[in-house]
């Protein structure tokens, strides 16, 4: 059984009338890689800052290894943070930056020099030890920030959107680096981001926040495949969400009447809906097939536009009653179809690929 490292209990933070975090509960285990995700202003950064002691909770508790942390000053904690801006000290060399935390802990100059060099080597930037941080590239600075935070060998590392300033190709490399570090060190990573690709690529558990509340927490795959509500379904992945009314619910399947047509989904085991209920019908963009394939659910619409992101194409299709549907396919599959905007297009999906959420 995993060991609990950090617990947040009914944690709230408000600035005057504005509530940034509303009574959240979260238990974080030792060695977890947890990603907190949500739109800006959802309270994710405030939560991280409360853990670091940079904000004081309005109510609720933060416990690290059972110790109540609410009133512990930031410098008396061991919760190093990798900042969005990195916040390296520009007047110190790379090595002095890394040594900083050790110096504050009173370690002798020789010892901290040795420790700092170990970490610089581990992150592959030992050759820059004497350099001015301003002369380093984005990726190198990122590594300095990591080394500086990890040098005191903490049990938890806080990361506040640390890759938001990196170029796209560097992000992928840093993700691999973080995954490697996390595996090697076995400490907890608490990673705040608004990028789901980062979160799903690295985290073992994902927490989705919105409006200061936790909407859903769980293993990345669960959150991706089974969003618990419309917000999460809308935030995670690329889902088509249609409001509708339940027309039939039997034989393990439910039929929903939506403006775009009548569709089926598996009958949920919990919260089974009854006929007449308002529900949201969800089908993810990548599980929709193009062409009449004898699928259980079909729609014919007009292709409005195409959007290319990497090797994936998103097709925007206007269905009946003006409902917009999105279909995601690998580039090479779509190229063979010779699609043209304005042409009618038939799409379909299987019952098993859809699900319903209570409205």
């Amino acid at each position: 059984m995993a060991e609990t490292l950090l617990t947040l209990q009914q944690l709230s933070k408000s600035y005057g009338p504005a509530q940034a975090v509303r009574s959240i509960d979260l238990t974080i285990e030792k060695g977890e890689f947890i990603a907190i995700m949500g739109p800006s202003g959802c309270g994710k950064t405030t939560t991280l800052r409360m853990i670091a002691g940079l904000e004081k909770p309005t109510s609720g508790e933060i416990r690290l290894r059972g110790r109540l942390m609410n009133d512990v000053r930031p410098w008396e904690r061991d919760t190093p943070l990798v900042w969005q801006s990195l916040a390296l000290f520009p007047f110190l060399s790379v090595q002095k930056n890394v040594e900083f935390g050790l110096k504050m802990r009173g370690m002798s100059a020789a010892d901290r020099r040795q420790r700092a060099m170990q970490w610089l080597e581990r992150l592959g930037i030992a050759e820059f030890a004497t350099r001015d941080v301003a002369t380093l590239s984005g990726g190198q600075r990122q590594r300095v920030a990591l080394a500086r935070a990890l040098v005191t060998e903490p049990e938890i590392l806080l990361l506040d959107e640390p890759m938001s300033a990196l170029d796209a190709h560097l992000v992928v490399r840093m993700q691999a680096e973080l995954i490697r570090l996390h595996r090697e060190l076995g400490i907890t990573f608490f990673y705040v981001t608004h990028s789901q690709s980062e979160a799903f690529a690295m985290a073992s558990r994902v927490v989705i926040m919105n409006g200061g509340r936790i909407e859903q927490a769980g293993p990345a795959k669960d959150v991706y495949r089974n969003p618990v509500n419309r917000f999460v379904a809308g935030f995670v992945g690329t889902n088509n969400i249609m409001s509708g009314r339940v027309e039939a619910a039997s034989d393990g399947r439910v039929t929903v009447a939506t403006p775009a047509g009548r569709f089926t989904a598996p009958l949920p085991k919990a919260n089974t809906p009854s006929v007449g209920d308002q529900v949201d019908y969800v089908v993810s963009a990548d599980s929709i097939a193009i062409g009449p394939a004898g699928a259980a659910n079909t729609v014919t619409g007009n292709l409005v536009s195409e959007q290319f992101i990497g090797s994936v194409v998103t097709l925007f299709i206007e269905g009946p009653s003006g409902v917009e549907l999105r279909v995601q396919k690998p580039q090479r599959d779509v190229a063979a179809l010779e699609l043209e905007p304005g042409r009618p297009l038939a799409i379909g999906w299987d019952t098993a690929n859809a699900y319903i959420l209570p409205a």
């Binding site: 800052r49 904000e55 938001s164 690709s197």
Partner: protein
């Protein structure tokens, strides 16, 4: 729904964490000394100056009292109002002349000069602030005086001599010496923030250079231009050196009046009335300038 919306370069600028912004003992150590010093030696003297206007001079010494003699005496004196309005007009004149003289230079530096030239010009314009204003004014007197350099040079051309000191011209030269570099700098900074796209757009609409200046640039930079003129007014209005040295003290300005009243009569209460009147005037001018700058048509685009 959202495909990892790319919103990379948006750092979370909360400046300092809000919990850290409430002053504590540590903060007071840094904040309090300056506060105490300025309260005791800046605010208090200025307030005391107002108190002093109600004191009396008894046996050549200012004595605590609560009389309006000084106010009545000065505000009913014709010579005071003569001096007051003259000083005010001098200030306006200096502000207007300095603004007009400075604008083409600021325009040139902002829109037609390379970054290096602009950098050099800024450096050169800062230099005068660190040279003695007294010595510069004195040197103008040497240059402009009856048989000084300018008149000597004009003499070779068969012109002059002209009276250029001990009159308004001399005073104005002094005011410009004081305010011109500052006005150019302030205008330059305000022009630098004019949206270049706006100017491009004006050119694309076949707006000539001069029309662009009057219809696009000046309205967009209005606040900075008004600020520059206001500073020119404040400095000229309160200046003692130029009207004394280059204007010949006659007719006097309010600053000269203050110094005379203090030096000859040791009549501090009366001098205080003049100083308070000056301060009130400056406040009113600043206020009017703010309203003018930010008011109607302040940001026409």
């Amino acid at each position: 729904m959202s495909t990892a919306t790319v919103d990379r370069h948006k750092p979370d600028q909360g400046s300092v964490p809000p919990e850290a912004v409430r002053p504590n003992w540590f903060g007071l150590t840094f904040g309090l000394p300056a506060f105490v010093w300025q309260l005791a030696l800046f605010a208090t003297p200025l307030i005391f100056l107002v108190v002093m206007t109600f004191w009396q001079v008894v046996n050549f010494r200012p004595t605590p009292a609560l009389v309006d003699d000084n106010w009545v005496k000065l505000l009913s004196a014709g010579y005071f109002w003569d001096i007051y309005f003259r000083t005010f007009l001098y200030g306006l004149l200096a502000a207007a002349v300095a603004s007009l003289m400075a604008f083409p230079v600021a325009y040139l530096l902002a829109f037609r000069a390379s970054t290096n030239i602009r950098w050099l010009a800024v450096f050169l314009l800062i230099t005068p602030f660190f040279t003695s204003y007294l010595v510069r004014t004195y040197t103008w007197k040497v240059i402009l005086t009856g048989n000084g350099m300018v008149n000597a040079a004009l003499g070779y051309l068969g012109l002059g001599p002209f009276a250029m000191v001990n009159n308004l011209f001399g005073t104005l030269v002094g005011y410009l010496t004081l305010v011109l570099p500052l006005v150019i700098l302030l205008q330059l900074f305000s022009l630098a923030y004019v949206d270049r796209n706006l100017i491009e757009a004006a050119h694309n609409l076949r707006c000539g250079a001069l029309r662009t200046v009057f219809q696009v640039i000046i309205p967009s930079a209005k606040i900075g231009l008004v600020l520059a003129a206001t500073f020119a007014f404040i400095l000229s209005f309160g200046d003692y050196v130029s009207p004394t040295l280059l204007g010949g003290s006659r007719p006097p300005t309010l600053s000269i009046l203050i110094v005379d009243v203090v030096k000859s009569g040791a009549n501090w209460p009366e001098a205080s009335v003049i100083a308070v009147m000056m301060s009130v005037t400056l406040l009113a001018v600043c206020f009017a300038a703010l309203i003018f700058a930010y008011g109607r048509g302040g940001r026409r685009a």
